[in-house]
């Protein structure tokens, strides 16, 4: 049994309830939808292990996101992959998003292909719900740079989605 904590931490249950979904989305941004579940489990298990052991947490979301990022890196390393996607898309990145029937799959594939900085900024901001200042705190750099990277990432995703839609339309008309 742990000693009485210095600062009153809320029951861990409420931490899971409040942040479970955001962490899941973030895990998907890191490792793809298929393997996100494992990273989510590892993240909350590690968080629970540490919880209440003299821990002082100012920002729960940022704390969990830091753990999730480390677990995602561990996970990718364990799978024998590079922790960051390469600029050129290999089979491994495509394999991280195997559910082709999923209408979201093409978006996740596009997200996985973004340069690391853009992908992370997008993930923290839009999936994790962090502010640019918090994102910058985790990734290094300034809030403005994080904002810039996220905007670039969004622009790339828009263009790719647009292109794939056009491509599908073109294929449809020629067949």
């Amino acid at each position: 049994m742990s000693p009485r904590p210095a600062a009153a931490l809320p029951p861990f249950e409420s931490v899971v309830q409040q942040h479970g979904v955001a962490v899941l989305r973030l895990c998907r941004a890191h490792v793809g939808a298929q393997e996100a579940d494992d990273v989510w489990q590892e993240t909350f298990l590690a968080a629970l292990r540490a919880y209440g052991q003299g821990l002082e947490i100012a920002d729960y979301q940022a704390w969990l996101i830091r753990i999730a990022r480390n677990k995602a890196i561990d996970h990718l390393r364990a799978a024998g992959r590079r922790p960051e996607p390469v600029a050129e898309v290999g089979d491994d990145v495509a394999a991280a998003v195997p559910d082709v029937a999923d209408p979201d799959a093409s978006v996740w594939a596009d997200v996985a292909r973004l340069p690391p900085k853009q992908r992370q900024c997008l993930g923290y901001r839009y999936l994790g719900g962090l502010s640019y200042a918090q994102t910058a705190e985790i990734l290094g750099g300034t809030a403005a740079a994080a904002r810039r990277a996220a905007a670039d990432g969004i622009a790339t995703l828009r263009r790719q989605q647009q292109e794939s839609t056009e491509q599908r339309t073109a294929e449809g008309s020629t067949s």
């Binding site: 742990s2 809320p10 029951p11 861990f12 249950e13 989305r25 909350f44 502010s131």
Partner: protein, 217 residues
Amino acid sequence: MTPGMHDRADTTVGDAAAEEDARHVAALRRQLVGAAEAAGIVDVAYRVVDSPVGPLLVAATEDGLVRVAFSSEGHESVLEHLSQSISPRVLQAPGRLDDAARQLEAYFTGRSQTFDLRVDLRRSTPFRRRVQEYLPLIEFGQTASYRQVAEQVGSPRAVRAVGTACATNPLPIVIPCHRVLRSDGGLGGYLGGTDAKAELLALEGHPPAGSGQGLLL
């Protein structure tokens, strides 16, 4: 939670997707609880069970049942208190409470008159603990006065302290403090409210409050 997060979530992820994610996380949460129990890092497990006296929160440490709480106490604040007084590693982990839930159901449906559960009374002061350990000796359908309990635990003058021990009983129903009445037959107080106390006594075949000598209530 970051302010404005919900606004962003609404504009970036549709409601249907958000609902789907919430369901998915609920399933992940159940797996997490299993893994955490196996790793021995759930310091307080809890679940909520329905009963004729309203939903009851039941919570257990590794050592045994540590809390039964009426909804009038505010289950959220009871959990907060457990988090602060025992450990914040509090999870809704129904498996550990299977026995307690089964025995409560058997009690309320009249199939059982006693509880056989490990209890964790370590947070009670020594005197209160003495009282709380004595109370299960008052049998189903029987009652005792605060004065009688004081005599039984060897402190005949500690009548008020017995009242406090009953009022701070962390395991109402399982530790039957509802069987302790005033010497004049009046109900006395009850954490879950006197209605709940009267209902539990009625369940045990005790004349309802208001009949005979209970008129003053």
